[in-house]
Amino acid sequence: MFVVLIRTVVLYLFIVVGIRLLGKHQIGQLEPSELVLTLIIADLASVPMQDNGIPLLWGLIPIVVLLALSTIISVLCTRSIRFRALLCGRPSIVVENGQVLEAELKKNRLTLDELMEELRIQGYADFKSIKFALLETNGQLSVLPFAAEKPVTAAQMGVSTQETGLPVVLVSDGHLLEHNLKGLGYEPVWLEKQLASHGLHSYRQAFLLTVDEVGTTYCIPKKEAAK
């Protein structure tokens, strides 16, 4: 068992370092240590499941050790900036003032095609409008356009707007979420009125009904009801 425990620690640290060295764009949305945890736990759990000759404990101990190690690492990451930088890396600026920084691309093993693909996904066809593009530690690309390229906001236009807040779902796929309705202080009579205003007789005919903080409702009727 001791051997299993030490092997788990060694393998975990080894793979964390390995994934870290692979570079950010290989990771996707997870931090290196999280990715390693996901990869190993899935495999560890499957081995004792498939082989009855291996004690269940041999699968459980590594998983407990990995979860504990992961917790230690996440706590250390929150407490120490140096440790966080060492383990997760730092964001890399790959585009600055409309210019691609080739050295950073090479350092992160990111090709120009991959960079352009990411930019296109985010709605930028060229580099001219980009002030900064950063490759984040979780592998995602953040794009900050030049101030002149940013969309105009209501505040910049001097237009006063009303905060609508977070829309709350009242009806989901024909099911009434009574808890939400009561939580917002609305009565069933109010709901009936809202449904009637959208041409519906019952909440069962609604696919989705939401209400925001100012009382504006948004309704999508079910296909059968719409016919």
Partner: protein
Amino acid sequence: MKRLYLSIGLIALLAALSGLHTWQLNRVISQLTDQLTQAQELVEREDWEGAARLTHQAKDRWMECEGYLHITLRHADTDAIQISMDEALAFLEGGEKQPAEYAAVNARLLTQLGLLVEAELPTLTNLL
């Protein structure tokens, strides 16, 4: 900070339990090895009954720990040892006495027991 201490404590606890397991296994296997070595010596002195008694004692001790060993060790290893013990007893209690065959089976059994402990030790060889 509580999560950090809890996680470190959990790993320390598992390490301590693993150490305890290795110590306990070493103790049990040492007892069995002693008994089986003595049984071998008795056979060399033609005391087949005494050897059978000692081997039975060793098997009883093994069976006492069977549940624990089954939970903590690879099942194939524990099963192999149990089979070897039965084989050794069959040679000891059989009508025709075959010292050479018994010696071979007992030697294999002792090696299997030795390897069982060795595999649990946190040595560099085992880690690699």
